[in-house]
Amino acid sequence: SVSDKGVRPLSLAGHVGFDSLPDQLVNKSICQGFCFNILCIGETGIGKSTLMDTLFNTNFENFESSHFEPQVKLRAQTYDLQESNVRLRLTVVNTVGFGDQMNKQESYQPVVDYIDRQFESYLQEELKIKRSLHNYHDSRVHACLYFISPSGHSLKSLDLVTMKKLDSKVNIIPVIAKADTISKSELHKFKIKIMSELVSNGVQIYQFPLDDETVAKVNTTMNGHLPFAVVGSTEEVSVGNKMVKARQYPWGVVQVENENHCDFVKLREMLICVNMEDLREQTHTRHYELYRRCKLEEMGFKDTDPECKPVSLQQTYEAKRQEFLVELQKREDEMRQMFVQRVKEKEAELKEAERELQSRFEHLKRIHADEKATLEEKKRLLDEDQSSFSKRRAAAQLLQAQSLTANGKKDKDRKK
């Protein structure tokens, strides 16, 4: 038996050295490399690819999509980036054709399916007997940038519907795209309207975490600036004596990294510099766990059985598997039966049709025979008539001939 005396603090007489633990962790993770997956949702042409290029200071392979896609699709591309000695495996997933269809009721579905598929992959790996989670390429979506069109009034109906479907599955960070079309006063009103619409419809967007004192202050400020009004550009314009990323208009130059012009810097700070690790953590501990629990409950797993004793996952899993196989077999038998039944029915139908056809044929044959008989009768009568007539004619002719010869004799007699 083990006696547990409880936990008590201990003071150290000198420097032990375990304060290097975080460094050891950091070294290990640097060796392993990091992985981050961003999902960008927004209408065609709204600037998703340009913003990604601007954020990560590279030129990802971008395709200009058509507005005439019949359905929403997702395109994922993975890149290996490096900054000083830190390696990042970045996956950027973009929606294709989002917002273009006439009927957008199903537009959210491909996005939800994609997110769920990544969760499912991870779950499958986790449930394996022989698994290698430390090698596993985590494809779960860590951050979702939702691009809001800068109409200046409010969210679009599609935005609301989509974000509601996603807020329990992924960390949503809404951004106002192409924000250089909105003047400062309009922007303030627009942001307030958007946030109030999200709140009143119960949409849970990602909040920058406040539990760590070192970043709580900056995160609180940033939370108040949501949604970030961004401008993206990979082109450079000379301003003063520098070349900066900017957009040049006839009436001025919008500098991407000027905080007076747009919130790009804030987004980069929050998304990449300060909270990237928290986004990954939230995805794993909150969104993934929710998915896992729902999925397992759906399959019939419980943490405790009806007698409130803990149940082994493996046992339940095997039991479920057997059940499933039995069910499959039953269905197969049912379908086979139904098939046989249908064949029989069809056969019967065809036989019936054949019989009907046969009886009609007989009927017509009878009618034909009757008609034929009638006609033959008529013919016979006609023939009789004809023969009696010819007989009579012959008799008449004979009579005539006889009377002629008789007359001839008389004449002869008279002449003598």
């Binding site: 208009y249 009436w251 919008v254």
Partner: protein, 373 residues
Amino acid sequence: MQKGKLTGLRATEKQYVGFATLPNQVHRKSVKKGFDFTLMVAGESGMGKSTLVNSLFLTDLYKDRKLLNAEERINQTVEIIKHTVDIEEKGVKLKLTIVDTPGFGDAVNNNECWKPITDYIDQQFEQYFRDESGLNRKNIQDNRVHCCLYFIPPFGHGLRPVDVEFMKALHEKVNIIPLIAKADCLTPNEIKKLKDRIREEIDKFGIKVYQFPECDSDEDEEFKQLDKELKECTPFAVIGSNTVVEARGQRVRGRLYPWGIVEGKFTNKFLCSVENQSHCDFVKLRNMLIRSHMHDLKDVTCDVHYENYRAQCIQEMTSKLAQDNRMESPIPILPLSTPDVDTEKLIKMKDEELKRMQEMLNKMQQQMHDKEQ
């Protein structure tokens, strides 16, 4: 009015007749009568339609309007709202009607969202047709839509399915003038690229937008050049503004942004002016719509779109009458309703059976005939 030419004519005439004053008479009467114009604006919410209308007519038409939330717009149907105002300038009176189409393209399912709009246009045609055919035609009100400004969002790569379907549903009923909305989010290169793309797609999809009439061959070169520039500038990329800003000693209608360079120096604010032709095509649109082509828009509506509607209407009426007449003829005819698919299939089956029966009968007769031989 080409007064210059007329005086030239008069100079060569020996005897003075006086009909050269006709244009003046027309002018005088038209001023007395007043004009009317119906303009429809269509496009998604947030494209700046109301702001543009206010900027065009330098007034505030939308003082107390209420905008819907995103939630309310999920299942929104399209409404038609008319605003009619009487405006006057230098003695010329204009009864201006703006037809708004709130809700267009805003719902999640936008299938056939233009139907209320085409129905509205047809209703006005129908009403005019009835009035025109009536006995008392003294005070006919012309509510027909003379022009439809369609706002295309500048955020995409070109036309979207909803744009194509809307314009195709309306291009034979009303003069469509497509506009690129909120053009202040595009750099000059981007504007050119988008315009080219849209013109290409309008051609490709066979959309008939309003064409400026060819200018007379005897117009002067400057006019012809302006006309050419105007035509190459479509679709117009517009910006609207409800605010008049004080900048560099001037009062300008425009949008104030927190960035900008003026004369090589940084300033905190710079003005995107609605009326600056290098900033957007607002001036071109205004000149075209109001100052030069307003009457042509009305003429095309009356002479082309309305006449098409009328001809179609009459044709439908006469074909219906012909149908009714046929029903009363002494010869019994099959019912005019086309049989549904199932009945047709049955009829076909029976036909084939009869054919088979007939063949069997023929064969039997042949056999009997052969037996007799």
